[in-house]
Symmetry: C2
DNA sequence: AAATTTAACTAACACTTGTTAGTTTACGTT
DNA sequence: AACGTAAACTAACAAGTGTTAGTTAAATTT
């Protein structure tokens, strides 16, 4: 675990074959519609036009599909935030970058984001690793807010409430983005920054 | 359906017996932890110290539990918003009332709110009714925002983005409220109003 | 005291679940 | 032409699923 190999990082050392990736993509769509527990291996197979047993030529078991979806996304967020932490700008600017990070990752993988948000509790082997990543992420995020308060860039309200409010919105993007066709992600990100940072009150 | 009877409204004419309510409450807790599909009738029974078959002395089937949880909450929101729409105040004041509405209902029923958010797609008989309630709610909410923009109380940004941002935060309250012990709901509501309406930027 | 109701039980059902074993088919390489 | 491999198949499994039928014991009503 956590071996760097090629352009793969952390806990996902093996790059999946194209067929395996098709299974994961198909499963993601179904997981988003009904949730992990309500989707059967036969559902996934049927959506691909094959039989359930055939899936096992490509994957170890059902859990592996969920694990891949969730961990690869979680690691994208961790890595993205790492860059932002190290960037040399104001805290408000860092928050804008975080918003862009969420809009970017989510718009590229709306289905997977549903599992990340709703099905993480069904992880087994990697549950603790996932929880660690999530806590680390939230802590880094909160740290940026706190520093912004200290420097006078950000209002002196309870940082937890600000964190919760922003993160809730960003975590819900996966529901909202697919509803809007012809979506310009950079416009969305800047509109969100406006609303989340400066509020709606005139 | 939709018969007013005593203090029961809309699509839930029958008030459940105390034992039935215990089942629903127990189920809510489990549904929050693992989601509706991953919770079995045997899980619910075990949590109550009885056998699965005994549940059927009190409820029609598994679906009825989920339906009760979701529809009764959805109707609380619809009724609460109805009062707010009819109140004679500014749009900003109406938004504050909506925030209070969410904090109130959610803090009284955090478990049920998990199902409302994540398990509605497993409704059968009442799925269309639920979807209608949700669309009505969002439309009324959006209308208040649009009127606020017209009257110059609210910034002239895309109302959908403001709606999405506020509603995402309010819908995530069920995750956040149980994590904070000794929570004063009126303090939370006013802090949320501050953040959601006026932003975090100084 | 007898009759009814409530709410638990045991046992079983038909069906679905994830998964394995063994087989077949098609295709690229030797 | 023979071989090896990838990826599909059929058949089956053990365990778990929601639910029903019939029974029992206690509490309540008549």
């Amino acid at each position: 675990m956590k071996i760097k190999k090629g352009n793969e990082y952390l806990a996902l050392p093996m790059k999946p074959t194209p067929r395996k990736l098709e299974i994961i993509t198909t499963a993601s769509t179904l997981f988003k519609e009904k949730g992990y527990s309500a989707v059967t291996m036969r559902d996934i197979a049927k959506a691909m036009g094959i039989k359930a047993a055939s899936l096992y030529n490509h994957i170890k078991n059902k859990e592996e599909i969920l694990t891949f979806i969730i961990i690869s996304l979680a690691e994208q967020f961790i890595e993205g935030l790492e860059d932002i932490k190290n960037s040399n700008t104001t805290c408000i600017e860092k928050l804008k970058k975080i918003i862009e990070l969420h809009v970017g990752i989510t718009s590229r993988n709306t289905n997977g984001m549903a599992s990340l948000n709703n099905d993480w509790m069904h992880l087994k082997d990697q549950l603790n690793y996932y929880l660690k990543l999530r806590i680390d992420y939230e802590n880094s995020f909160r740290k940026i807010i706190k520093e912004g308060v200290k420097k006078g860039e950000i209002k002196n309200i309870n940082p937890d409430i600000m964190l919760f409010s922003i993160l809730s919105t960003l975590r819900s993007l996966y529901i909202w983005i697919p509803q809007k066709e012809d979506l310009d992600t950079s416009v969305l990100a800047s509109n969100l920054s406006e609303v989340l940072l400066k509020g709606i009150n005139k």
